[in-house]
């Protein structure tokens, strides 16, 4: 099973390289290191969000409220900065992680304590969070002129050849890798995804583990809230509207099974990178950006078809019914 998972990431990596080579054949400058680093930086936020979503999807749940959480936390960060420019940016970032985590905890409590299906909970909080952005901002925008230079500049500062935004993504990815492979929580996330009943008998608190997954996803969304706002230098109600499905798409392309229990950090990162490379390649090869949506839709469908074939090879006919009973 592990070798199979590894294969999947290798194939996805090869697909990304193939796209880069194809584009480079016509536009040699596309694959210059500088441009590739730009693509990486452009995709940093999506990569982090995909990692957060992965933690949730592993437990057979889904978090549709991540983009709304991002918009709400980002608006809070922007308004704080506009009102009190003296607050140091690292403190604002920490605050974003906490606020995002609390919003995620709200999802988590409803899933844990009330046993409401995650898709219903996050469908509800998606609209609530997005509505709250309007309530706290009164529908007004926070624009570049109102933000302090530090607020905008921090993630653009170059450190050892990479922008701080890229470094943050790398650190988050390493933390997630350690969490998933080296901690009891990481093991528990996989365990309850593969078989919740067996997980209970091994002493795992299923509800609490799901709660933690939602807190993680929320905290990442919060962090990305600040990063998104300071990157695009505008905070409004419409920020990242509809992006929740792009995040899920990155996970699906990355081979994370929506049925839970299957997925790796590398997969989530590559899934996000794949979308990032496509989005960056389209304008270069002179395809209208309006093609972007249909292409990512096709990519999702192809990915899920290929992944399903990989999973079926295991031939777990008996477990399939058990899975169906618990979804």
């Amino acid at each position: 099973m592990k070798s199979l998972a590894k294969h999947r990431e290798i194939w996805l990596g090869l697909a990304i390289v193939a796209v880069i080579i194809l584009v480079t054949l016509r536009f040699p400058r596309f694959s210059q290191p500088g441009n590739l680093l730009t693509i990486f930086n452009d995709t940093s936020i999506l990569m982090m969000l995909a990692l957060g979503q992965m933690a949730v999807i592993l437990t057979r749940s889904i978090d549709l409220s991540m983009a709304a959480n991002l918009a709400l936390t980002g608006m809070i960060a922007a308004m704080l900065n506009a009102a009190y420019p003296a607050i140091p940016i690292p403190l604002i970032m920490a605050l974003c992680v906490v606020i995002g985590g609390l919003l995620g905890a709200f999802n988590g409590v409803l899933v844990w304590k009330l046993n409401i299906p995650p898709i219903v909970v996050t469908l509800g909080t998606l609209t609530i969070f997005r509505g709250l952005v309007f309530v706290i901002s009164g529908g007004a925008w926070v624009n570049a002129a109102q933000m302090s230079p530090d607020f905008i500049g921090l993630q653009r500062a170059v450190l050892l050849g990479l922008p701080v935004l890229s470094w943050i993504a790398i650190v988050v990815a390493i933390l997630f890798f350690l969490l998933m492979t080296r901690t009891p929580l990481g093991r528990a996330l996989y365990a309850i995804g593969v078989n919740p009943t067996a997980a209970v008998y091994t002493g795992i608190n299923v509800g609490l583990t799901k709660f933690m997954a939602f807190v993680l996803a929320g905290a990442v969304s919060g962090l990305c809230g600040y990063l998104w706002i300071s990157r695009y230098v505008i905070a409004s109600v419409e920020v990242a509207s509809g992006y929740e499905l792009t995040i899920v798409a990155a996970c699906v392309i990355g081979g994370i099974s929506i049925a839970g229990g299957i997925g790796t950090v590398a997969g989530a990162l590559l899934g996000a990178l794949f979308l990032g490379v496509i989005n960056n390649a389209l304008p270069v090869i002179n395809i209208s950006p309006f093609w972007q949506m249909a292409i990512s839709g096709t990519a999702i469908l192809l990915a899920v078809i290929l992944n399903a074939r990989g999973e079926r090879r295991k031939g777990r006919v008996i477990l399939k019914s058990a899975e169906a009973a618990h979804v």
Binding site: L126, F290, W291, A294
Partner: protein, 331 residues
């Protein structure tokens, strides 16, 4: 002798408890609807007026048409997130047909036909290739709306003929709109289909245990395929109504409809896990959402703030019975 075994009466699960819980859920919805209705009549002098109430129905008819089919799909244990994208694609194709000089009957046929085809495509991917519907329809959602974006870009189609506009703006009699009549007719059709036919019985059976249903001779895949087709068909019909009402097509048309339709279904008491639900509940939930959004609109509450109420309503209505049950068990 065998008192131990005969003494323990098995509850007749097929009749009373299920029926009574369903009844209580629907009566809860009626109560909520009445409260909101009374609140609206007090809060705004413009609410209790036959034309206002007629306008109110336009807030939900198109989404509710989709919710009817979506209810059956969710009861069978599947979901379709692509319905709004189907509207966008069907509407775009109608606009395209208009450019080639199609008249009203052709436009309607194109809209409904594209919807049906999209639904069949979803159904094929889910039942033919055995893929999870939530991922498939996230994919086709991007694909369908993506095609609309490719065709339209930042432009729009307009100038639909007046006879076509009647589908979205016309009145059958007095203040009763064509959209409302169509919704009521379809509500009756879906009620009979789900609660009075073998087909409906099988939908419930699949939702409760599709493996058991398969072994009892229910053609699970075929029924699921039909349900996806029906959902696509209803989305196509909604596309005709919405395009006729707005009189124009943009690729971003009907954005967010999928979440509102699903909210209606869940609010209507359909279990998101499948296997339980009723059409009466869905119709009531549609009415409640129409009343809430229209009432708040009369109070000049912006749409985005209404969504807080809708989201809150969704979570509260689901959470209340669970909290109540927990409280009763503890007592």
């Amino acid at each position: 002798m065998s008192d131990v075994t005969t003494g323990r009466q098995l509850p007749n699960r097929l009749d009373n408890p299920l029926k009574s819980t369903l009844l209580s859920w629907e009566s809860l919805l009626v109560l909520v609807a009445v409260v909101i209705f009374v609140f609206n009549s007090y809060s705004s002098p413009y609410f209790l007026n036959e034309w206002s109430l007629s306008d109110m129905t336009f807030n939900f008819t198109e989404k509710a048409l989709i919710a009817l089919a979506m209810a059956l799909l969710i009861i069978s244990g599947e979901i379709d997130l692509s319905v709004a994208a189907i509207i966008a694609l069907a509407s775009t194709m109608m606009g395209l047909a208009l450019q080639y000089g199609a008249d009203t009957p052709v436009l309607v046929a194109v809209g409904v036909g594209v919807g049906l085809l999209c639904g069949a495509f979803n159904g094929f991917l889910v039942t033919g290739l055995k893929l999870p519907s939530i991922v498939v329809t996230i994919g086709t959602m991007s694909l369908f709306r993506g095609i609309a974006f490719i065709v339209l870009g930042d432009k729009s189609f307009g100038n639909y003929p007046a006879s076509f506009g009647w589908f979205g703006q016309g009145y059958v009699w007095w203040v009763i709109s064509f959209e409302l009549v169509l919704f009521l007719v379809f509500a009756a059709v879906y009620f009979v289909l789900l609660h009075r036919t073998n087909f409906g019985r099988r939908v419930f059976a699949i939702g409760n245990n599709d493996v058991a249903a398969q072994f009892s001779g229910v053609r699970v895949d075929r029924i699921k395929f039909i349900l996806f087709c029906l959902t696509g068909l209803m989305s196509g019909i909604a596309a005709v109504l919405l395009t006729a009402r707005l009189g124009s097509t943009r690729p971003s048309i009907a954005e967010g409809f999928e979440l509102e339709a699903i909210t209606m279904v869940v609010l209507g008491g359909v279990s998101i896990l499948g296997g339980a639900g009723s059409i009466v509940g869905v119709v009531l939930a549609a009415l409640i959402m129409g009343l809430v959004t229209f009432g708040l609109g009369l109070l000049n509450v912006p749409g985005i703030v209404m969504s807080i109420f809708i989201g809150g309503l969704l979570i509260t209505v689901i959470a209340l019975p669970i909290l109540f049950r927990m409280w009763r068990q503890r007592a």
